[in-house]
Symmetry: C2
């Protein structure tokens, strides 16, 4: 049993292909008699018609496809997957609500091929965890006006949009929750040196008081030099439990969106995933109006209240 096409519907209804297309797409500039409209719609349903996206894409030069490219960590941390998957879920859901379908692809190894992006004619792209170097390579593959968003990455580039947690307000809230000025900061290494620098600067703490996580041993060595009871801040909830063994007076910035793993009594700053709604809307507009350009190149995930 082959799939029904517009032609099949037209034949069954005794009308032309064009008429069927008008009705199915609800084209406003055409006026169709109610009689033929209901007839065609009914037959379409009977034949289980669905539109063939390959054909439609070819015709419209729009595929309705969004790429989510995940750049794998060089040395993966157990928790990074959780962060990424949460982002993936959120974006997929929002794209789905707007009628887009999502192509998911991991970027791995030294010389990955980005052909997919051009072969599939993606309407928009999200890059998760991209670092500066690979970004330079990949950015040559589009820039033909398709909207690109970098998530959890900091890119020195004025052309593309970036989405990162609002560290500035995050630290402000953390300080407020601590009640006193923090004396140390423990943070994740991320994938990208730029992003680490940003977090460091936003924290307002001296370099000497900041520890970038590499290993449990390194972290413990750092903590052993901090007097017990000193107030501190931890960026990334997955590092919090380790710190809590020795230092209880901390506030945690839950940048991985899994606050539940931190004990309830600890001060937690969580982030909204709601900003992605704006982001996907922005992308949507960008796709429809080729000349739409938005000056907000930075989108910050806001601190939950």
């Amino acid at each position: 049993m082959k799939k029904a096409t517009i032609k099949d519907i037209a034949k069954a209804a005794g009308v032309s292909i064009a008429t069927v297309s008008y009705i199915l797409n609800d084209v406003k500039t055409q006026s169709i008699s109610d009689e033929t409209r209901v007839k065609v719609l009914k037959i379409a349903q009977q034949l289980h018609y669905v539109t063939n996206r390959s054909a439609r894409s070819l015709k419209l030069q729009k595929t309705g496809l969004i790429g989510i490219l995940l750049f794998k960590d060089l040395e993966p941390k157990p928790w990074s997957d959780l962060n990424y998957v949460k982002t993936l879920y959120r974006i997929e859901q929002l794209c789905g609500e707007r009628g887009y379908h999502v192509i998911f692809m991991q970027i791995d190894g030294e010389a990955p091929s980005y052909d997919m992006i051009r072969e599939r004619n993606l309407d928009g792209v999200f890059l998760i965890n991209v670092d500066q170097e690979r970004f330079a390579t990949i950015s040559r593959y589009f820039g033909f006006g398709i909207p690109v968003f970098a998530v959890d990455s900091h890119i020195e580039d004025t052309l593309f949009h970036k989405i990162i947690p609002d560290f500035e307000n995050g630290f402000r809230s953390a300080n407020a929750r601590l009640g006193e000025t923090p004396e140390f900061l423990v943070m994740d290494a991320y994938n990208d040196a730029e992003l680490v620098g940003i977090v460091k600067r936003r924290s307002g703490l001296d370099e000497a008081r900041i520890h970038v996580y590499e290993s449990k041993e390194g972290l413990n060595a750092f903590l052993s030099k901090i007097p017990a009871g000193s107030p501190g801040i931890v960026v990334n909830e997955f590092l919090a439990n380790e710190v809590l063994r020795t230092h209880e007076h901390i506030a945690v910035l839950c940048t991985s969106h899994y606050p539940d793993i931190v004990p309830a009594k600890v001060a937690k700053i969580t982030y909204e995933l709601n900003e992605y709604k704006q982001v996907v809307d922005m992308m949507d507009r960008n796709i429809h109006d080729a000349d739409y350009s938005n000056p907000d190149k930075f989108i910050y995930l806001s601190v939950s209240s």
Copy 2:
């Protein structure tokens, strides 16, 4: 700057469209002079030509698209995401190596729309965590000969392939590692009642000695009735740490592929993700030879040695 097409190459090279297509696709039945071949290939590269998959799909009636549909849990557990994402990564990678692209979609809510499957003409589909009921609905959407694989689900259906951990050998290894007969079993509730039943039966333990996890409180109530020191088995590494507080003599079946979260001293049974290679190969063959049919409807992830 518009994207170059075969036509552009043909014009630039002074040959016909057909010739270019033959060369690019390396069609064996055609013989092409070396001269034109290198000329065309060179121009194609200069123009940064990539094939337009919409057009190719339309013509070939094959899209090179594999769907991975993730059925969200009704009450999600924090660890289930980790399991799913691991599977997603693995399948995407294997599909990518074989030239397929992956469409990822979450299935959620009461009345999800499965139109994507038919609109995009997927070449193959993986269902993750599907339950019996939704499977019945979705199975009507294909069955037009496209290969379907159910992962981490147990479906009463002889038409489709299922992939689940090899519980039988898992329990056998666990028993061996314990050194004595286990006296209790703690396991995850999964999404699907069928799968729970399977695990229970394979364990060989009485119903009264089996606890299906619902909440921490329930688990602790169950454990409080088990004498300390009794040997037991835990299915799913994410439950292990909770059990370990009171019962140390356990063996853990790491069905979520994150064995690292369990302390090193504990007996762990891990599963291979290698079987997915066979699975994707099977799918690949299925796609190319429409009449290929494989009798092995069950694929078990094997226990690591």
